[in-house]
């Protein structure tokens, strides 16, 4: 206690050491390591990235584009000239699939990211203000959950959107509508999670230290719901891609001339037996897409889960509750 306010050389040296010391592995690195250890997850990530890349540059590998009609090849199976065959209109299926994949991924990414963002802002606002604000916002949330999304999708994209349709491509319209109906579940989850976080002692401690509320939200709440947000983004992307396919499949989502995987699959259903490649090719791409996302999601969940089995060399990283004893042993 004698050196309480004195500065001695040892302390200064110590200081320098702390600044450069890297004995502690950052949490994000631990999570990254765990994710990379999970082979399925890495495979999922690789497939997803490959598909995304293909959807953007795939067009350059083929002489045909999605609008060029080959009058000599109408509804032909895969051949040297047309890698994946052609559609009934004589358009190269490879070009169509590349284009469709891009639209589907675009819809998935935009809806997944933006809806989680909306949900985070909405959920945190509810939890933070509480009281009347919370009640009103919760009511709006539940009312939106009650609205059958599909109907509104149909109204917006089919008959009704006439005015809108002139200005907006149907995929953008679908993105907007999907966004409106995709964030409520996550928002509710974030609200309840934030509420329980606000009750935690470390948040109380920060309040009693006089830390301003905005800082508490930013430094304590957001990082602690971060893992949930990341998981919800991958889930949201998957959900949006599935929704696009489902809606377009029955003819109320993306409309021709725009293409998407759902449109391609849906168009091909009537002649599956005659032109099977038209159906199975885009379907296979869709499976690769959603499947790779599901694999990634699984790996991420494992990496975030403190009680997961894949601890490995990530020593004393995230362990709580029952495994406290082991954590004890690791400290000196």
């Amino acid at each position: 206690m004698t050196n309480l306010f004195a500065s001695d050389p040892a302390a200064v040296a110590q200081e320098a050491k702390i600044e450069n010391d890297d004995v502690v592995i950052a949490k994000s690195r631990i999570i990254l390591r765990r994710f990379l250890r999970n082979r399925t997850a890495v495979a999922g990530l690789a497939i997803f990235l490959a598909l995304t890349l293909l959807s953007f540059i795939g067009g350059f590998f083929s002489g045909w584009d999605k609008e060029a009609i080959d009058p000599l090849n109408i509804g032909t199976p895969p051949s040297g000239e047309h890698l994946l065959g052609t559609s009934q209109a004589g358009i190269d299926l490879y070009a169509l699939t590349v284009e469709g994949t891009r639209i589907s991924i675009l819809i998935g990414l935009v809806v997944g990211l933006v809806s989680v963002l909306i949900a985070a802002v909405y959920g945190c606002t509810m939890a933070y203000f509480g009281g009347k604000v919370d009640k009103v916002m919760l009511f709006i949330l539940e009312a939106l959950i009650m609205m059958p999304a599909l109907l509104v999708v149909a109204v917006a994209t089919s008959g009704g959107g006439i005015g809108l349709k002139k200005n907006l491509p149907s995929w953008l319209l679908l993105i907007i509508v999907l966004l409106v109906f995709s964030w409520m579940g996550t928002a509710r989850l974030i609200r309840s999670l934030s509420l329980s976080l606000m009750q935690r002692d470390f948040v109380k401690a920060a309040r009693y230290m006089g830390v301003p509320p905005r800082r508490i939200v930013w430094r304590h709440l957001v990082p602690n719901i971060g893992s949930l947000l990341v998981l919800d983004i991958t889930r949201g992307v998957t959900g949006a891609i599935l929704a696009e396919v489902a809606f377009s499949f029955i003819g109320i989502g993306i409309k021709v001339p725009d293409v998407s995987l759902g449109v391609l699959i849906g168009q091909a259903t009537s002649q599956v037996s005659t032109f099977p490649w038209m159906f199975w090719v885009p379907l296979a791409v869709m499976f690769l897409l959603t499947g790779s996302l599901a694999m990634m999601n699984d790996g991420l969940r494992d990496a975030f889960d403190p009680s997961s089995g894949s601890i490995g060399s990530a020593n004393g990283s995230a362990r709580t509750g029952k495994t406290q004893k082991t954590a004890k042993k690791k400290s000196t």
Binding site: F202, T326, K328
Partner: protein, 758 residues
């Protein structure tokens, strides 16, 4: 223990091997034991390797006797009991021998084991809140225990027996309560139901695993009493597993102390408490503060943490923490061996013979009692750092769905006034629900709309106009939380944790870094650990981080909410010593809320006893604890088990009836009347006064002080106030319990005298 690892062959009681083992284990002959455990080993497969959780446990349990197994968390005591019951998961590897009434239990299948479980051997678990199935009625669950082993019993007979059992464990109107669901019962009541289930088939062996750890002291006393009754009714032998040396002192005949999965000392209860021969046992006994003695010596801290049982210890498992460890201790793990001059007493220490009569404080180098410069100044001469004036916190209790009706008021805190002076430790004690935590929160909230005045370092909440006053107040007052894990953001490094209050107070970065290093040093942590995350520290170290954070801005008053209740006994002592030291060196004041009266007695100068939102007794801690005037204080104190077997067996205990009533039902007169042992014995005319008038909190009326009741009272008026009309009233006889007269050695101990008799 003797190096022999083969299990005792099944079906041959008294085989030579077993006899020899017994001799080595040195407890009793196995022939008449109801439960005999030999060389029990349990291993679990974990991610880090094979965890050898129990490493060679031997014991014999004689009919009707009680064996206490004492150890800290992770010592293997609970795993031992679950292994005996055959309730470990299939992944656990269990070796050795467990014989119940001569039958080998290990190796029996689940189905075969079911013939014994709940019939000859039964168990009571730690957490009563989660141990009953929420969707079935209590009666249903008691009857199920009967049905399993008595399929022919008629429905009527089973119901009658269930009523009888619930009555036996002290559940009022048992017939009606059969149809109640567990959530309608309090924790204490649920634990009674658990006991009723356990004794339903008159077991020969009853294992109780920390049965009272989750309960309040008054409820703990009740439940221990029920266990005692249950043992008397059934004649069962009891294995009592606990970390609390006080709980078993009065109950157990024999004690086994476990450390790192192994028994390290075993013997009769007197051997262990009065003549311990293993440094760990000695340390444990020295680490526990005593509620009944005004000793102001430091507690014995046991440095370090228990070994990792994934790696087999090569030497004595306690050696790394033992102050007496020498090179010899590191060569091979010592076996339990007889202690010279003390038959039946064994210890696993190569130096056990030399420890006869050793002073634990010397061995463990307990620090000297820190003296604050403020201690010399009389209390009245010191400034007040916190003052509460008539603080109230009432919650409206509403009912109804559409239109909320106010059906009453919960008076969580009802008119509290006290002050804390510089350099003083003030504690609030009481059962859970008495309002002590609400009081803390009211102080921490500090805003103008509060009912009552809170003055912190001269700043009144009534004048708390803006952020400036509040910020000034936050620099005067900081808080340490109960759960050290929950109070630290898991995503912050220690550096970030400690920097947060400093950044908030606007300190510059280089100054922050310097201050953090000072703080680490101050609380006894290595400064180069600042880059670690909280989960890389042990519980005790985390609590030190919490204390360092509270001290960061140099507050004058630190509020501590149950600062050590989440810690193991040996770790607890270190944190308490640290708090003592910081108070003396930095001139801090503490406001402590705690349910453990022993800890309170050790660290406090003054104490307030709360009951239903009101202070019923307040004053100097030694005065209040040695000469309690309010019947509630007396009951509370008598409910605390003391780690002293003689005293524990012979002292008279007040067992309060019922539980803390809902604050909603607070009566007009004295709040405590419904449970008061004095009130129960009063003539009706005097009872009237308790029921109609609220007793004020006042110092003793000089005329009313009977000379005999306060022999140590100094000439000046003692610092003690209480709220009771009849502090000297006779206690109702049916609420008093003395188990056995026993040989009273401490005749001259003033605490054993029956107090309060006019």
């Amino acid at each position: 223990m003797s190096g022999e690892t083969a299990p005792v062959p099944a079906g041959t009681p008294g085989a030579p091997g077993a006899v020899e083992r017994l001799h080595v284990a040195g407890l009793h002959a196995a022939s008449d034991a109801v439960l005999s455990v030999r060389d029990l080993n349990v291993r679990f497969n974990t991610e880090n390797g094979v965890l050898h959780a129990v490493r060679g446990v031997d014991f014999d349990l004689l009919p009707g006797k009680t064996l206490g197994i004492v150890g800290e968390s992770g010592s293997g005591k609970s795993v031992t009991s679950l292994a005996v019951m055959g309730l470990l998961p299939d992944t656990a590897e269990v070796n050795g021998s467990v014989r119940l009434l001569g039958t080998e239990l290990l190796g029996l299948g689940d189905k075969a084991m079911c013939r014994y479980r709940g019939n000859d051997i039964a168990m009571v678990f730690q957490d009563p809140l989660s141990s009953l199935t929420p969707v079935y009625t209590v009666g249903n669950q008691v009857i199920e225990a009967l049905t399993v082993h008595n399929p022919t019993m008629s429905k009527h007979a089973k119901e009658a027996r269930a009523v009888e059992l619930l009555g036996l464990v002290g559940i009022p109107s048992p017939r009606d309560r059969l149809k109640a669901f567990p959530h309608e019962f309090s924790g204490g009541m649920r634990q009674r139901v658990m006991i009723a289930i356990a004794i339903a088939n008159n077991p020969r062996v009853l294992i109780a695993d920390e049965p009272t750890t989750a309960l309040d002291v008054t409820i703990q006393a009740q439940v221990l009493e029920v266990l005692h009754t249950a043992q008397e009714e059934t004649g069962a032998a009891v294995v009592m597993i606990t970390h609390d040396l006080g709980v078993v002192a009065g109950m157990a005949d024999d004690i086994m102390v476990m450390y790192a999965g192994k028994p390290v000392e075993a013997g009769t209860v007197d051997d262990i408490y009065y003549n311990p021969r293993m440094p760990y046992t000695m340390g444990l006994l020295g680490a526990v503060p005593r509620v009944d003695i005004a000793e102001k010596s430091s507690l014995v801290p046991i440095e370090g943490i228990p070994p990792d049982l994934v790696r087999a210890p090569t030497g004595c498992s306690f050696a790394p923490r033992c102050p007496l460890a020498s090179d010899a201790c590191l060569a091979g793990e010592p076996a339990l061996s007889g202690v010279s001059g003390s038959p039946g007493h064994t210890a696993a220490c190569i130096k056990s013979d030399a420890l006869d009569g050793a002073d634990v404080h010397e061995i463990f180098a307990a620090p000297a009692v820190p003296v604050s410069r403020l201690d010399a100044i009389p209390r009245s001469g010191r400034k007040a750092v916190l003052e509460l004036r008539d603080v109230k916190k009432h919650f409206p209790l509403t009912k109804g769905a559409l239109i909320k009706r106010r059906i009453g008021t919960v008076k969580a805190v009802d008119g509290l006034s006290f002050d804390i002076r510089e350099g003083e430790c003030f504690s609030i004690v009481g059962e859970s629900g008495c309002g002590k935590t609400t009081t803390l929160l009211e102080i921490m909230e500090f805003h103008r709309d509060q009912d009552g005045e809170v003055i912190i370092g001269g700043l009144s909440n009534k004048a708390a106009a803006g952020a400036r006053t509040t910020a000034a107040m936050r620099r005067e007052l900081q808080m340490v939380f109960q759960d050290p894990t929950g109070a630290l953001d898991p995503r912050f490094t220690v550096y970030e944790v400690l920097a947060e209050p400093l950044e908030t107070s606007g300190m510059a970065r280089p100054a922050i870094r310097k201050r953090i290093l000072e703080l680490m040093d101050l609380v006894g942590l290595q400064p180069d650990h600042v880059n670690r995350f909280p989960n890389q520290f042990s519980g005790g170290q985390r609590q030190r981080i919490g204390i360092a954070r509270a001290l960061a801005v140099n507050p004058r008053l630190v509020v501590l909410d149950e600062p050590v209740s989440a810690l193991d006994v040996s770790v607890q002592a270190g944190v308490i010593n640290l708090l003592d030291q910081l108070r003396a060196e930095l001139g801090l004041s503490y406001l402590v809320v705690a349910h453990d009266l022993s800890v309170v007695r050790h660290i406090s100068n003054r104490v307030a006893v709360m009951y239903l939102g009101k202070i019923v007794e307040i004053g100097d801690v030694d005065r209040v604890f040695d000469f309690p005037r309010h019947p509630y204080t007396r009951a509370l104190l008598s409910a605390i088990p003391v780690p002293d077997p003689h005293l524990e067996r012979s002292r008279e205990r007040i067992i309060l009836k019922g539980e803390l009533p809902s604050p909603l039902d607070a009566p007009t007169g004295c709040n405590f009347a419904s449970r008061c042992p004095v009130f129960a014995a009063l003539p009706a005319a005097q009872q009237e006064k308790c029921l109609t008038l609220e007793p004020p909190l006042e110092p003793e009326q000089p005329a009313a002080v009977p000379a005999s009741s306060s022999p140590a009272a100094p000439g000046a008026a003692p610092d003690q106030q209480f709220a009771c009309f009849y502090p000297d009233g006779e206690l109702a006889a049916d609420l008093l319990v003395v188990h056995e007269p026993g040989p009273i050695i401490h005749q001259n101990n003033p605490h054993q005298k029956k107090k309060g008799t006019p």
